[in-house]
Symmetry: C2
Subunit: 398 residues, 2 copies
């Protein structure tokens, strides 16, 4: 199948590209390299030394991989080029990772808030518009986030896959039952953009019949897949800084270099997780099982397990002997929450979850240890705050 | 009170500016004149000969009005200027009309779809961002639309003001009751942008405590208010073209020039209506009754009555003797729907509805007759279609 991977150079995008190529798809990687450029702006680098796009693609072919083509393009800016690309490539599926994906970065300043909204909304909308204008029947596989549901008020209920059945009490005492898009409660500007994406998909699916699978992903951990392990030039990026590093990878990396594990607040926050290997597998499963014509937007919860942040810290400490350090929380969020998630759709399609118990924790620690000399410790603290009050408090402690 | 009116030169904005000035507020009109420029692009003009902004403001002062200042600014593009304006003016309230507001225009082409999303989302988000960055406690009064609720599936239930109480059936057979933002079902790209605005407001209210009143307005009819009637240079715009003209004003204008009333489809579509006099009064009431600090987004249904399109056509025909013409519907929407709307909030604040029975129908016909020679009949048909199938069908009939 011909597949375009938008944002194919990123942390999820790159292992996804090689996985799809290995599965026999004809993959075109599309990226504006914004993730690498944001690293330049922030003065940070991936802990792992990632190769340039051309070196990655050459190495992939040299190690026997099916060729992947690269197109440099900003989908949020270059609408005509995107439309021409769809018309000339005529893909059956487009995987859409091309969004600014860090919550702390999205809260850093008015500039990063505005960039995140502008880039993510216009990127998604341009893609939808271009598919309509092309007249092609293209399946969009989009990376959403578990964060659209919110973490505040589920009170023990299971989070369904995208749609919630509710009963609306009527004036005559009866109840009207309907299935609605699950109400959203995003925890950052970044998460908010994914709730906006949902409405864009809903509308273009209804009006133009665009087929969409929206993957509400948990927090990804791990670094490499079997395929990116094939050659050092294929190594995936590993973010450990306070903006782009995600909680479990940060703990593992902190453990590797002897830095106390940075738990924000009580650590009572429960979040959903998935290993990068499972993440790329889920995208492949979604491509292989597209919605039918006329089907509403398909939403899957792309996660394999839930954990409290403090339990993760303790687990990493137990494996590695690291210390745990409790810091003020720069985010505005519930101190503590439960999280029970329905993820049967992807399991039924064939996903075999890779869980924390599988020894992969130490694999990540090994990766982090190997590149420990590349770590800039000054970039570990989370300095992006959610509100002006928190910003002032942080300033006062420095 | 110091009030900025963003989009203060538009059809709702202009009568709102003079009404707020008359009520004693210190009004700053902010506009990028996009509405006049879109007229240039479309090759149409307001039926009424509207004066330039400077002539309008001079005439307003010459007729005894409290001075209104004008700032030319594009809130979706000029973030820094917007921020500086908030900092220097320190308004207590900002009325936000600065969005592309025509559903047919938003469906015209990929260019107008993309403009509508880019302009509306970034405009609203820039305003929210700038208020947070300014540190000022500013009340936003935003013009939403009744169209966020959708017109498809209410099945006789009353549409509440923004929030819906639902019961979520639990695994143990109990029901969990909660109040959610009413599920949205927009009928065009334009309406979709107002559902995105809702989520922006929801998030910034939750995270930063921004106080917002969102006015979900029905279709506005009428032209002038007592204040814009004071002097010919104060006349409000009157759109009759297929993109910007709204249904009732179009019928009245068509009747005035002897053009058959253009009913799309069966005319079984029920919509909510409000006269421009009531619309400006509602904005004033919203400004005078701001939400308290910490209060969630306040949502009012700004409409006074509901009618089926065919009943409106019959009413106008009865008053004027016009013919009714049934045309294919260029929109994708339910053929027929009911619409029962709760609008108690604004009534309780003091709104006295101006209804269709009040003789204002003939007032609008008089306005239209007076300027009938300015009408370009070729601009009356609705040529913007909702889907490529409809576009092809329309082309085939030409």
């Amino acid at each position: 199948m011909k597949v375009l991977v938008l944002g194919g150079d990123g942390f999820c995008g790159w292992p996804c590209c090689v996985n799809l190529a290995e599965a026999g798809h004809d993959v075109v990687m599309v990226d504006n390299l914004s993730r690498r450029k944001i690293d330049v702006d922030l003065g940070v680098e991936s802990l792992t030394p990632i190769a340039t796009v051309s070196d990655r693609l050459r190495a992939w072919e040299e190690t026997g991989g099916r060729a992947i083509r690269f197109v440099g393009l900003d989908i949020a800016q270059d609408y005509q080029l995107l439309l021409e690309l769809l018309r000339s490539e005529r893909p059956e599926a487009v995987v859409h990772f091309a969004e600014q994906r860090a919550a702390p970065y999205s809260m850093k300043s008015s500039t990063t808030k505005r960039y995140t909204v502008d880039n993510n909304v216009n990127g998604t909308h341009n893609l939808l518009c271009a598919i309509v204008e092309s007249g092609l029947d293209i399946h969009i596989v989009h990376l959403g986030t578990m964060g659209v549901y919110g973490y505040g008020s589920h009170r023990g209920a299971t989070i369904p896959e995208g749609y919630l059945t509710v009963e609306v009490p009527q004036a005559d005492g009866s109840r009207f039952r309907e299935k609605i898009l699950h109400p959203t409660d995003p925890g950052s500007v970044y998460h908010m953009t994914k709730t906006l994406d949902q409405l864009l998909f809903y509308y273009y699916n209804k009006n133009d019949g665009i087929r969409v699978t929206d993957l509400h992903q948990g927090i990804v951990w791990g670094t490499n897949t079997d395929l990116t392990d094939r050659d050092p030039r294929l190594v995936n990026r590993f973010d450990y800084d306070g903006d782009y590093g995600t909680v479990l990878n940060r703990f593992l990396m902190q453990a590797a270099i002897g830095y106390p594990l940075t738990v924000h607040g009580t650590g009572g926050q429960t979040r959903a997780f998935i290993h990068i290997r499972d993440s790329v597998k889920c995208v492949e499963l979604a491509i292989d099982h597209p919605p039918s014509s006329g089907e509403k937007v398909r939403i899957y919860n792309q996660m394999t397990e839930s954990h409290k942040v403090k339990d993760l810290a303790e687990k990493v400490a137990a494996v590695t002997g690291a210390q745990v350090s409790h810091l003020p929380n720069p985010r505005k969020e519930a101190i503590e929450n439960d999280l029970i998630v329905d993820n049967r759709c992807l399991i039924e399609l064939g996903l075999k979850p890779t869980t924390l118990e599988d020894g992969l924790l130490s694999e990540v620690v090994d990766v982090a240890r190997r590149w420990a000399d590349r770590c800039d410790r000054s970039r570990i603290p989370c300095v992006s705050t959610w509100t002006t009050t928190q910003a002032a408090a942080l300033k006062a402690t420095v």
